[in-house]
Symmetry: D4
Subunit: 250 residues, 8 copies
């Protein structure tokens, strides 16, 4: 609904400057033009702290950088570029000096309009090869205002490493568990905690790991409850969902 337009016509009718039929036709036209989405848009405008995100893969460095720069210039919230090369970063930095680059996660990030971190998202990852995906999740959740901790290299093959961090598992409000190979870490952790677990399968492995299909299936069938799964290597999606959940506890 377009408040100003509506008010103008109502006032015109009130003041006798327009007939009821004229006003009716005008209102009808307005509805036809922005049907439904004004309200939706309004709603979205309220979502402060939600990053504007650009998926850079499949774009040239120039294209990705141009879009990111425009987003940085236009709004006043955080901006995120995922799967971004250093070249994208260099180009954005030329215009937006305070933009960050995280080479491991291949993330370009502008932290702006983000309050001091709140809550507690714990990003756990099984092996060092899973770090890029885990870091993408962590950086995303931070951009949405979450306080994020990392717990790395606690794979199931060395269970004692994981068990020695039980306290950290228990303290989190929501956990993101990133694992390749067979993804068994998700089942083990979800069996230990009573908080939501966001599971991220990675493509780390070979042969029948099938580029992440094996841990994906494993996580979907986890014998422990409380697990929601995202796409393979989708650190961004996991961090985003974790941050949404984390906000509920604020």
């Amino acid at each position: 609904m377009n408040d100003r337009g509506y008010r103008a016509w109502l006032e015109a009718v009130r003041d006798g400057r327009a007939s009821v039929d004229e006003a009716l036709a005008a209102l009808r036209r307005m509805d036809a033009e922005d049907l439904g989405f004004a309200r939706i848009d309004h709603h979205r405008a309220l979502r402060k702290g939600f990053p504007e995100v650009v998926y850079c893969e499949g774009k040239t460095d120039e294209q990705a950088a141009a879009i990111l720069v425009r987003l940085c210039e236009r709004g006043d919230g955080p901006v995120l570029g995922t799967r971004a090369s250093a070249g994208v970063y260099e180009r954005v930095r030329a215009t937006v000096p305070d933009v960050e680059y995280h080479p491991l996660a291949r993330v370009v990030r502008l932290m702006r309009g983000v309050d001091s971190p709140k809550g507690h998202v714990l990003v756990v990852c099984a092996g060092t090869s899973d770090l890029p995906v885990a870091e993408e999740a962590a950086l995303t959740a931070e951009a949405m205002g979450a306080r994020v901790e990392r717990l790395v290299d606690v794979g199931v093959a060395g269970l004692h490493r994981l068990l020695s961090h039980l306290d950290r598992l228990y303290e989190a409000r929501v956990l993101v568990v990133v694992a390749g190979m067979e993804g068994a870490l998700v089942s083990v952790i979800a069996g230990l905690v009573d908080k939501p677990v966001i599971a991220v399968p990675t493509s780390v492995g070979y042969g029948t790991q099938f580029h992440g299909v094996t841990p994906l299936l494993s996580m979907l069938n986890a014998c422990a409850s409380g697990v929601g799964v995202v796409n393979i290597d989708n650190g961004f999606g996991a961090g985003y969902l974790a941050a949404l959940i984390n906000r509920l506890g604020d």
Copy 2:
């Protein structure tokens, strides 16, 4: 948009019975209630001759029949029940005497509000085992006002049977080609005609036919152009799409 409501508030403003702010609040509330879809609905109300359809599989005979009876009693257009048992038909007929049953296609149908058939949809099928799906397509297209012809048992293994019907292929406005096994019939026919071909893979076959996956893939990769594919055994969807296309020629 709700015309009567709008007019009432506009008149109240004009007559001084309501303030601009009161009217604005009221209009806002109305928009919230039926946002956008009034117009969509209006559009759908215009689609005379579109069947109301019930997919009966997975419902008890009682449930399916009850829904079908309600649809028959409520509207004045055609009604279709697909994958319906004879039991469903018996129950519907008790209330709606002029309903038809087509046991091969397992279709319950009420032809009502359908003009005399127009255009020319040709439903071709490879083998007798594909007949139920082909017939579902034909019955659906008829319910939407199309004139439908059938051409059966013209599989690729006996090419001369197909070639002896070239004229019938050429005369159709749109063709529905139904085939199981490897689905090669689609490629052959689409190579012969210059009209749209709707391809329906069926689950007829065994072993690596994989319940219809093989002809589906075959049809998606047909070396001839002009082919659109629907889901396995989806005679209804093919007939519906063919009838939509057929109307364009009226």
Copy 3:
């Protein structure tokens, strides 16, 4: 850790009844016996309001009922039996009169030790055929203390039905979206709300729906963010996860 045993040996050392070496050996033995899990168990004992759950499929009615009765008699929290036949229910009710049965969801449930419902979980489902899975999710979340609302039959094919319920979507703390066919409902809803969405693919469909694989893949690749996916037809898992998330907002 075994407090009483530790204290006994510490007191013996303090009182000179045992040497340090004797006590050390004893403590070491104790650790070997109940390594680690005392504390884990303690933790789990604290999880009041978590249902004890029995997956009844693949068990005889007698077996399932026997396990459920034992759980009902042993604890003081809620008990849930999923995929349970009416026969299971009859057998449980003979011993536990206040047990409920929900035939659509095939759930046997004992609501006990559950506080008055809190928060707001919205369970949305695309078609009536998805209702059993949706209801399993709703009943599970309720058993964990969540206030649950249902919104049914708002499939994407009739978008206006969904859009007319925007307010209900916006009000929920967490949403469970249940959909078969192609599962597009998840993308649409996740694009409208800024709350966590738990997506449940169902096996409703035929042919290339592949018993739920299609909506599963669709949901994992949803173009909207904030979605976590569970196994096909896993209403229980979705309800459990939604309730965990819902608690964070209390």
Copy 4:
């Protein structure tokens, strides 16, 4: 059948210049040579406005260009080269100066013998990454004489963008909907319009998007009716089919 040959022999028999047996042998030989296909060929010769098409992938630039030049020199209708590099274009232009190149769609095109555009094909695409496929569809349909409009970047994640273009959706005679990720756009659009929808899944995505398999399955199982699906990334096939359908309305 070869009319001139037949007539010559019939006249020779009439005039006594050949015996019946001689003529019979001659006719038999002719039939052996061009059995059946004379008539088919005749039919194809009538299909003015159908492009001659070369799929350039897997050919060297030299090979592709040579074939395209030959087609341009031989006939008098449109010529299309799909998946063509700029190198192919340069080579063709050397001989055929009025050939066009569309780098985004990687299409080489010679618009010749094409009447002024007719009808109304609307090519809709979900994201900017889907543009190359969408453009291939549009260029193909144009080459076949269709008037084509484009509507880009109206993905389901921002539903309001799509809903603000309802009129354009309603006005089209046939729609080509191009979408990667989960392909939900097809279901939403097909639920809004009552015209044929040609669905094109693209390989845009990662992980379980499986190079386009996910939107393909999603489109085959669309809960809305009136959808025909083509192969992954097959913009050409969709444009071709859409143009065939579009002609029916002329």
Copy 5:
């Protein structure tokens, strides 16, 4: 081409009873009616000893029997019904007393117009569970005039059993090898002989045998040369192909 019709018109022209134009029109009509396939048909009519085959699965006993009886009454060559129940046989025998039934292979067969068996087809099978498929192959090849020998239960797990029959392997003109489980028998045999091997995967096995997919893949990748593969459980197809090959040696 239709010789008699052509000759009649040529004679009429010669004799002045018809004009060239009249004859030309008549010839054109004839071509239109039986375009191309007269010759094809003639060709097929020559294929004495090729069975008429009915695939009985998915047909009622009555339907299958009716078709078989019609084939028996119409022609004078062999007739085969595959996947036929005893009920089909009983019904056929009532009209065609000399029809045979082979319950293991579920084959109904009428040996008629088949010369004394020639050549040498060896049907080998790995385990007793593969016998029905092997027997279907053998019965089919016999119906096409081949002399067939069987060699059963010579699976790879007991290699000595196979090696003790080397002579029989060497003597065959063409071999049909039927195997379930992993289908390794094909590789072993094709490595021993220098004759064509027709490989038939069967659905015998469980778990990752995937209803015959495993031996199918195994046979397609056999490290030994000279192997052609047919569909899973397709004994008929293997016997048919083997008999075609066997004839070449006559």
Copy 6:
């Protein structure tokens, strides 16, 4: 090699009853007849304690029982019937009174010629639904002379249950780990012990468990070393392999 035949001819040569050439021809013929396998057979005859096994699925009770009775009567070692119904057992017991039946594992077993159990095979299983497969493994290993222990219901979801049995895991010579769902138990156990682990995926689960494919893939990609995997639900194969390994330690 055929000793008696060889000796007879050697004696004939020695005694002058046969020439060297005559004997040579005879020996050559014998070799042709039983090429190679005498020695293999001899070898197999030495494998005391290896069960004769019948896979009863897909056989009638009568057939399975007949084969089992024959094996019981013929040899003097253990006999095993897997996937056997009670009906098979009843029929065998009529002739072989000391045969056992294990209904959970559906195993018919005759323990005969089996020494007192040796070594230590530990069969671990995740859930009660996996028990039939676990028991099949245990019964098989016992039939081959292994001392077998069982450890049940120690799934990963309740890690403390497993950890409380560390000693039992450490003491085994070889472990068979049986798990459905996602099969994570294998990774956890293989990370704890330094003995061979035989992993058996089961079909226990639903949806994307894909009848055991998920734990199979999970086990093949276990992040811990020392794991060998067998077919889905193949308790027999795991027990057999475990017993072979167990013997090495005797």
Copy 7:
């Protein structure tokens, strides 16, 4: 069997230089040493005209060339190198001047010990992109002594092209049909001829062609009989099998 060894011991026994027991032990030892394979080898030695084949993919040019040279120098029959680069050829030619290279098929070939071509193998291929595989088949069959004809670019999309070559199809003794895309050509041809058809799926296509899986499945399910299928892109295997079959007709 080792003739010389046997004779020596038989003569020793005849002459009293050895006892029967001594000879028996010696013979037993000999059998153990070269069990069975002497005879097999002898058999293989007889297979004149069978090419020695090297699959060059995955080998360095140097390695592949070295093996090919060795084969050329050692024997006196044909030698074939498949998937060989020009670099392999250059290296072989340095030593073996009369070796040929076929760049399209990537085959290095030495025609030696091959009689004048016999019989009639027809290699048909659907599109020009399938030529490399078709040519590999043709070159292989020629190396095994077959007379080979080629028939190219007769895809199903232009059926008249194929039908105009019916005579050539009818004249062949065995046909190799090579097709990518959906592979429908196999069904059409097998429906026209009564000779064995060897079907070769190729990886030509994109999207759901799945690198050749689609035509493979299509060919395995061909509705026409008489088809044996080989692995994707396996021109060598098809040519080899066709030549084996072709020999039977000599």
Copy 8:
């Protein structure tokens, strides 16, 4: 358990420097910190002769080398780097002069703390292309103290080559069988021996070999018993498991 910490508090209690309650609280805190894993760790510390392993794929040469050097410097047992380039080796050798490099298997190895080889592991491989995987298995088993023999190029296509090595097969304590293509070698060997067989599918092949899936499935369904399967191309895993088994026989 933390011995030193425990002892300190026990002595403090004994000496009256701390109360029982103070000590109890301290002990409880310690358990929380290193719960459970002390004992596990102790156990692992005992596993002398187990290699520390680095999977180098996906790491830069620098990273892989750095980790390997650290492992070499830290411990006193063997160190293994798999899938390592020559560059990794060069970098490690600069610091650790006695490190080996095996280019075929791409293994960097430091043999240290390994006793003289014991037992008998036989690594068999089908073709020369499978050698890298086979060699990885052999090198791994050696690093764990096993005496390893190799038997190469004994594929099923030339069965006599394998049969001529029966003695070597019989003598092994455990066999690792490495095979690509269809993997039939595993079935043949497992049918000949009565020792554990570790099966390793390789990705050697093309088309439907599906990068190793075909031999994997084949091995899981081997008709012979006593087979455990590892992941595709997982030579390391097979060698590790074989060495574990081999130790049992010491």
